[in-house]
Structures are given as structure tokens and as C-alpha cells.
Subunit: 583 residues, 2 copies
């Protein structure tokens, strides 16, 4: 037997018991004639004492232990002289009388401690050692707990977790598919699912009524910092529901998760914001509403003063930064640099300081006097001491830029506390968005999303104005989940495909089985999918999803630990009927 | 709102309530001036009544409903005149006063009833309709419940469910991998996991202590009736354990599942059988012990009587079929045909009837007299009325053949009741098995399985005799799970690879990261994996795993519903740097 207890288990109550513990040597130190060994496992750390006077041979053996050696130690639990209040086992120590080395360890390439000296790349290569650090492992324990609570909640509501296939069919719509050559059907390929969308809709047609799945999905996209080629979704679908039913159900799930995982209780209904308003007020379809600082349109009060840039602008938008009138020249220059960054792309930044003494100082003093700036201040609800920041230009671009500036100011003012959570629903997304490259409309959510009935009549005349029964759950500026009420009518679905530029043949080729299924009695249905990795990282209070995935890939889609992807044997290529393409 | 209640919910208690239900029209029938509509959803069936006298227009509308139309009907709950005790809602019916058609249905290609007229292929093509049949859906509900109970049990024992990657690295060992070309790393490939074996071992090295995952695995094998290219495992691993700890823990899981899902309680410890004994007594490493009929070696009593076939045989094995002495000539001929089938391959069958009157009648009366046959009967513990069946030949082949014959006799005698469950552990599997094709040893379980310490010394001299710390859980002749205690020592692992015919370079190339990991303090560890699909089918009492998978593939690995695999666009091939190989 390797152990009678774990390293996190023993307390004063066990004093005088003889116990055996197994684990990793966290550290060993000699003090006078004694050697102290901290033994670590997933459950905690326990201190062992070896005594040179009473058992020299054993103590000598303990002195030769290196960090990360795996050992089993037997001894008697005793009360500790100098208690350690920082750890739950800190009131006891174990007087060792047997020590077995189960496994030696080379010197690890970085220290296995929360505060490690290992760089990103090294820790990725030795991910199995990185995972020994309790701060990393705790993220994965949290992930496990999130899975439990999601299932508890949905199971109790009669959702059926149903596995959908991983080897499916490639569709050119949406992101790029990973494909899998079929050996038994040469020249043909499976694709890995970007989501189980079609299958969950089929399950609704099957009468499953309520479906969910915590499921791996795959996208062969060029990776950004916070994207992984394989990621996990909480995928859900319900039949006989309207948008309101979905929002209710999954607001409930969200409340449940916050209560169980963070002990946060929301004593209000999650606010709802129209997509159009979100763009107008926050310049984003995923606004961070931990702070106000809504946009104010200054067009009316700021135009017509001979300042050409303003007079000719499609849009003049302002935010009011409370108490920032004292910003220095240098601080303001930095903000200007910020909005001018290529990824933001504003041309410049106009500021108005509403000084404590009621006076104004602005970067446009040449064109506007105090009375005029007072009108700006009034429009912005600014008080003396506040700073008004203004961006102008093309409306859509300026809204986005102002949104970025707003987030930056929120951060500078400390208004984005990771321990404060502000959820909201963004609703009524546009059905379609215009794609400049292909000069056609794309589905904003996906081609199965239903248009709002009251906007039907615009589908032919003004497709861009049609709103969808689509919604996102946004928390602290992060899109945590999104979904829609689906089309459940063959004719409407066919019309949608037409608007998305599919020929009838293409639609049939790719989604024929779904269109067929609609002909046999499809119930009204809708659903939502949550980004599981992102939810975990939010609950863990960390920014990157990579830290909540046991074995993540890097930005080139490589797993540097196992060195994958890699070349394969020529015979495998032959079996699959494949060859490398000549350049 | 589409419904106030489900179709399985209403009882006498709701009488006089006005309700709205939504679902599929199971059937509609006219009776006098009334029309009765059975409305079905996942939860049940409820009867609606339309009355031509009181509301002709509505009743007319109801008469036009076809099977599988999706409708919402509102009405008042009333007590039924002629109650239907077969369904839980059979005491009530609903007097309809509103009917909305949500979705029409074409005539389904087969009847949506438990007893359907649809053939296998048709039902697979329209799987979404097949899934409407409650007998099919119930299998998937059972699957869902099994998942819940597995998780409940393991969560409470501190196992952490951890997702391991799906895009991993191809290894030529074992079955064939599915591969996934990497666009970002041209000429390189991921592989889909045949199991998360290496990752779960790394998690043990990471100190996760107890891991599990209900996880999809993939094998590109030629498919037999009961195999799928993607299948689901309950994958588990524990650190600081010996074989006994694993058997205890997962016997506990198995008991829990049987109790929760089938209300079966085992009031005994699962028997343990050495692999060698299983082969010797049942001719199988997964014996069905719902019935005895153990093999008896007749070599001693049957040799030396001048019957050349017996005298020269390596092995003479018998089973005793209770009460079958009255088998007719025709029945015995059929048994002979059975053992002679190519997939069984015996040359012939010897029988001895131990008649009720104490006399013998055998197919070898020429060589053996009654006294001699009495000795056979004694060896077999046969009683008057029993039938002794004997196979001879090469030992290993004959054991297997006799095993098949035993199962056949068990079936003929009705000893294999699907509602009786007899679990056992088969332990101490051989470490290696000789492969004639490649003329080398293969790992019987996998290359990470540890040999029994007491057999270490045979590794060089008699590798085939080395036993492993490997075990299978067998229930009713089905291998439900299997696992092993792993090697956790670099040197031993390197030696294993050598015995398996890997060069040092190949071992490093394929498993270098695991070998590396062993150098940093690997705990003793072991695990087990259960076939989730097979477990569900066992609990559901059905033979094929295909029936417990929502969207299975056929024997050619095709999903005939979505028509996958399929061709892909030339641009995809170009992006991946791939071409079709010329013949």
C-alpha cells in the first residue's frame, strides 16, 4: 500500500497515528541534527521530520532526496512545535521511520512553484511539470467543477446530453474545416465539426426536446493569442421555445454557475440591450458594462462652428472620463497614441478638460469658446473635474474606435475589476452582414438563424436591415455565449440560402439532409452555445483560455510537448491514396 | 407560448384546467361526430377530442392533420370516459378549442412506432425519424443516465474529469490512426487519438492523482458489425495504486451503475479468474459465466485406446451439456456443422450420450466401451441424461473452438438470459503475444503495461511467459473494460520498447516526451477504460452498439444520413498541400 492518507488530510485529531504518505518532495532542508521534508500531492503538503540522532541511516537517506523525487514515507503524526498557519496540515508533522524512494527525478527545468522561473515556451514543452504547479492545476479543477455544475443544472431541467459525431461532412460555409481522409472511401474526406449545429437541430426534429453536450469543436483558423484549433463548447438546443424561453433558461444556468463557483448572486434580471444600441452606446456588440461611460453623439452641439473636421464628419462621439481633468499633457499624448495605433486606426483625439474651477481647456480652443464647450459638457453630463474625449469620422469605424478608447479609460480608472461581474444579453443582432471581399451577404450568426417576423418584408428590399432572433450573453466585455431561434421551415430555409448566395444545388449538396428533415415535421426550436474554455478562464480570473486547457497548442497550432503535428509514414499516405502536392 | 405542459404530464388532478400542448400527431381517428388526435412528444402521449357538432370548423381542421404534423392545441382537461391504463395520461383527455399547425409533414418513409416497417438502411438514412421512435430514444436517454451516474460516482471519489487533446500525434503502434493534415504546418499531420493513454499517464506524472474522462476515441479499422470508427470510452487513471486498488474502485463503479440503472445488487465480490485459467476452463479471455459447463481435459482418460485422432492430439477437451442426452441425430449434425464453420474451424465433433438408463451411445463406440466412457462421464461430472461433447486437436485452437461450442450450448439451453448479469475480473494477462506476421512480440494490452515483478526474470529468456499487471472486467461474455498497472520507470519502459522491436530512435521519436516525463518523478500508476457504447448496450439489453449511438456510421464507415465522407473542394486540397495519388 502506497499511502494511508493524502498529503492534505492530517490534522491534530490524527496525533499518534502511524501513517504512510506518498508524494513529491517539494523541498528538504537540514536544521541542526534534523532534516525536514515537505511532501506534496494534489491535496496538500505535509512536513516530515528525520532525526540524525535517533536514526542516522534514515536521515542520511532523506538528505539525499532531490526536489520532485517521488517517495513513500511512514511515520507517527505529532503536534508541531512551530505551527504553520498557512497550510491546513500546519499543526502537525510526521516523525519519519521509513522512507521508500518510488521514483527519482532529474532537476526540473524550472521551479515547480506558483511563482516559477520558467518561461512560457519551456513550461509548454514540459507541460506535465507545469501542471504540477498548484495554481495551474487549480484552473483544471475549476474546469472540472464547472462541468459538474453545468450538467447538474441542465440534467435537472430534463436536458439529454447526447453525443454527436466527430467525423462529419465538410461544408465550405463559415470557418475552415479540419478534414480527415477516409481510407475506406478513397478520395473522400470527413470533416471535424466546427459545432454540432446541424445535429442538434436534427435532434430537435427527432423530438429530443432538450439537448445539450459539452463537446470539442474544431476550427482551422489562423490562430490569435486566445484561440485554439480545438476548443470546447456547452452546446444546447430546445424545442417549442421562443427567444424569451432560451434567455430565461440560460440566465438561470449562468446564475447557478456564478453561485456555485464564485458565490456571486445577482439580485436583478440580466439587462437586455439591442445590438443597435450596444453599437451606438458602447461601440461594441459585447460591451463591458462594469462601468458606464456611454457614448454621447455631439453632432448637434459641435457642428457648424467652422471646424471643418467636425463639420464634415459623419459622426462625432464623446465619452466622459470622470475626474480626469487633471490628466497631464503626457497622459493625453499617450491616449492620442493609443487611438492612433494601427489596430485602432483613429486619426486623432480631441479632448476637453472641464476644470474643477469651471473653466475649460481643450485641444479645439481655436474653434470653440467656453460657452460652446459648456454645451458639450452638458450633453455629456460632465461635472467640473471631468475629461471629455472626442473622436470623429466615419460612423461605424469611429464607434469601434471610441469603444476601444472607452475600455482603455475604464482600465486606467480601475473600473474593470476582475472580481466584479456584469452580465447582459445583447439581442436582435442583424441577420446578415455585408462582406466586401465576396460582395455578398453572409449570415452573421449562421445560415439557420431565423429572421424576426416583423422584418420579413425587408428581406428582399433591404436585407442588411433585417434583424434576427439572435442573442449573445456578454459578461465583462466577453462574449460568453451566443445563439438564436432557428428556421424550422423548408421554404424559409431555402430562401435564406438563396440570400446567402448558395445555388439551389449547393444548398442541396451541403444541407440537403437538413432540408429533407424539415419536411417531416420540424418543431420551432432554438439554442445557444457557451464557450466552455472562456467561461472557465472568466471564473478563474485569467485572460487566456490556454491556461485552462490541460494540453493546449501554441499559436502555430503545435503541441510542443508531443511535437505534433508531425510527418507520417509513406505507407500511411499510400493507404489513403494521398500525395504531397508539387509546388 | 407553445405549451403549458408536456404530453406526458396531465393527470386527473388537472381536470378543468385550460392547457396548451405541442407535439407530433401520432394518429388521428374519426368516431361518429368526434375526431380523436393522439399528440406525442418525448414525455408521452395525450389524447385530444374535436367535436364536429360543437365546433365544426375546428374539427374539420383536425381531420386534415396528417401523421407527424407538428401542432399546438389548446383545450380543457376532462376525465376520460373509456380510460386507457396503458399510458400515464390515460385517465384524461383534452377537449380542443384551438389548433395551430406549427409544421406540416410529408408522409414518413416508415411508421414512427416501436414496431416499425422500416428496414435498417432506410432508418439509417432517416435517422432523425428513427430517433422519434421511443424505443430508440430510450436507449439514448439511458446513455445520458449512464453518463450521469459514472460522473456522480467518480466525482465523489475525487477523480478530476480532464479533457485531453483530439488533435495529437500519429504512432504506428496499435490500430491504424485517422490523420488530419495541418494547413499551418504543410506536410505534417495530426492524428486522432485511439485512446488518451499517454495523456492520462502524463496527468499522473503531473500529480492529478485521479483522472477520468468520458471521451471519443477513433480507430481506422476495417469495421465489423459491432465496431464504429468513433466510439466512446470511460477512461480512468489513478496514481499510487496497485492492481487491487483499481479492481476495488471500479468494481465499486460497476456496482453503482448496476444498482442505479438496472436495480441489480450483487451480494458477492466479483470473482477473479487468471487469464490462463479462463483459457483452460472456458477457451476465452472473456468467459460468459452465467452458466458453468467448464472444460474438462480428457487426455488422461481418453488416450491410449488405439483411436489415433485422440492418441495423437495435443489436447482433448470436453463439455457436459446437462440433460441433452436426448439430442437427435439432426441436432447433433447441426452441432457438428456449427463447429466446422470456417470461422470456428474444428474438423469434427465427438459426442457421448449418457442415457437416462445409464447406457452410453457415442460417436466413438468403435474405440471405447461403456466402462471407458463411464470414466469420461466421471471426469466430466456427468449424470445420466447428459450429453458430453468433445473436441480434439492443437490445444490453443481447440480451446477456442470448444469455447464457441460452449456458448452455443449455453444459448440452446437458455442459460444466457439478458436480464441476468455475471461480472468477473480476468487478471494476469500475458505481457506479450507473438505475432506470426511480423515475427515479433506485440504488447497484448499496450506497450506501457507493467510486467509482474515475479516474472521479470523471464523477460529475456521466455518473454511469452511473462505475466502483466493487466485485467479485464468481463460481464456475460463481453469485455466491458480493461486496463493495467503501467510502467513508471524510464529504464523498464526502454527495455519494453526494445522487446517490442522498437529501435532506440523509434522509441524516442514516438514516445520521447513520455520517456522524458518519467525522468522527473513518475508515481506508480494504473488505470482502466470502459467501452461506454458497449456498457450502454448491455444495460439496454441489446446486441449492437449502433443502436445506442445517436448518429452511427455503417460498416463502410459512412454516415448515410449526411452522406459523409464526401469529396472536398480542390482549393482545400491546395491549401493543405495535398494531391490525390496516381495509381
Amino acid at each position: 500500500m502506497y499511502r494511508t492518507h493524502t498529503c492534505g488530510e492530517l490534522r491534530i485529531e490524527q496525533i499518534n497515528q502511524t501513517v504512510t504518505l506518498s508524494g513529491w518532495v517539494q523541498k528538504a532542508r537540514d536544521l541542526g541534527g534534523m532534516t525536514f521534508v515537505d511532501l506534496r500531492d494534489r491535496y496538500g503538503i505535509t512536513q516530515f521530520v528525520f532525526n540524525m540522532e535517533t536514526n542516522a541511516e534514515l536521515c542520511d537517506k532523506a538528505r539525499k532526496l532531490g526536489r520532485e523525487f517521488v517517495v513513500a514515507i511512514t511515520g507517527k503524526v505529532t503536534e508541531r512545535q512551530s505551527k504553520n498557519n498557512k497550510i491546513p496540515t500546519g499543526n502537525i508533522e510526521i516523525i519519519a521511520d521509513k522512507l521508500e524512494i518510488l521514483s527519482k527525478s532529474a532537476i526540473p527545468p524550472f521551479t515547480i512553484e506558483d511563482d516559477t522561473d520558467g518561461g512560457d515556451e519551456l513550461r509548454m514543452k514540459y507541460r506535465y511539470l507545469d501542471l504540477r504547479r498548484s495554481c495551474v492545476r487549480e484552473n483544471l479543477v475549476l474546469r472540472h467543477k464547472l462541468g459538474i455544475e453545468v450538467r447538474n443544472y441542465l440534467d435537472q431541467l430534463n436536458f439529454i446530453e447526447t453525443e454527436t459525431p466527430v467525423l462529419i461532412k465538410s461544408t465550405p460555409e463559415g470557418a475552415r474545416d479540419f478534414i480527415v481522409p477516409s481510407r475506406m472511401n478513397p478520395g473522400q474526406f470527413y470533416a471535424l465539426p466546427q459545432s454540432p449545429q446541424v445535429f442538434k437541430q436534427l435532434l430537435m426534429i427527432s423530438g429530443f426536446d432538450r439537448y445539450y453536450q459539452i463537446v470539442k469543436c474544431f476550427r482551422d483558423e489562423d490562430l490569435r493569442a486566445d484561440r485554439q484549433p480545438e476548443f470546447t463548447q456547452i452546446d444546447c438546443e430546445m424545442a417549442f421555445v421562443e427567444q424569451e424561453d432560451i434567455l430565461d433558461t440560460f440566465e438561470g444556468l449562468t446564475r447557478h454557475l456564478f453561485q456555485k463557483l464564485r458565490n456571486v448572486i445577482f439580485d436583478y434580471n440580466f439587462p437586455r440591450l439591442e445590438y443597435a444600441d450596444a453599437m451606438e452606446l458602447y461601440g461594441s456588440d459585447k460591451p463591458d458594462i462594469r462601468f458606464e461611460m456611454k457614448f454621447v453623439d455631439l453632432s448637434v452641439v459641435a457642428k457648424g462652428n467652422g471646424f471643418k473636421v467636425f463639420d464634415e464628419a459623419e459622426y462625432i462621439g464623446a465619452i466622459c472620463a470622470e475626474g480626469c481633468a487633471n490628466y497631464t499633457r503626457k497622459q493625453l499624448d499617450k491616449l492620442t497614441d493609443f487611438v492612433r495605433k494601427p489596430q485602432i486606426g483613429a486619426k486623432g483625439l480631441v479632448y476637453v478638460k472641464y476644470n474643477e474651477d469651471g473653466s475649460f481647456k481643450s485641444s479645439v480652443d481655436k474653434f470653440y469658446d467656453a460657452a460652446q464647450l459648456q454645451k458639450w459638457a452638458d450633453a455629456c453630463n460632465a461635472k467640473p473635474g471631468d475629461l471629455i474625449l472626442v473622436l470623429v469620422g466615419d460612423k461605424s469605424a469611429t464607434l469601434t474606435q471610441l469603444g476601444e478608447l472607452r475600455l482603455e479609460m475604464g482600465s486606467q480608472l480601475g473600473l474593470r475589476d476582475k472580481n466584479v461581474f456584469k452580465p447582459l444579453w445583447v439581442v436582435n443582432f442583424p441577420l446578415l452582414e455585408w462582406d466586401e471581399d465576396s460582395q455578398r451577404f453572409h449570415a452573421m450568426h449562421h445560415p439557420f438563424t431565423s429572421p424576426k417576423q416583423e422584418d420579413f418584408h425587408l428581406l428582399e428590399t433591404d436585407p442588411g436591415a433585417v434583424r434576427a432572433n439572435a442573442y449573445d450573453l456578454v459578461i465583462n466585455g466577453v462574449e460568453v455565449g451566443g445563439g438564436s431561434i432557428r428556421i424550422h421551415d423548408t421554404n424559409l430555409q431555402a430562401e435564406m440560402f438563396k440570400h446567402l448566395g448558395f445555388t439551389e444545388e449547393e444548398a442541396k449538396e451541403q444541407f440537403g439532409f437538413l432540408m429533407n428533415a424539415f419536411q417531416f415535421g420540424a418543431p420551432p426550436h432554438g439554442g445557444i452555445a457557451f464557450g466552455f474554455d472562456r467561461l472557465v478562464s472568466m471564473f478563474a480570473g485569467i485572460d487566456s483560455i490556454r491556461d485552462v486547457i490541460a494540453f493546449p497548442k501554441n499559436n502555430s497550432g503545435r503541441d510542443v510537448m508531443i511535437d505534433s503535428p508531425s510527418t507520417i509514414a509513406e505507407e500511411q499516405m499510400i493507404e489513403l491514396g494521398l500525395d504531397y502536392r508539387k509546388k
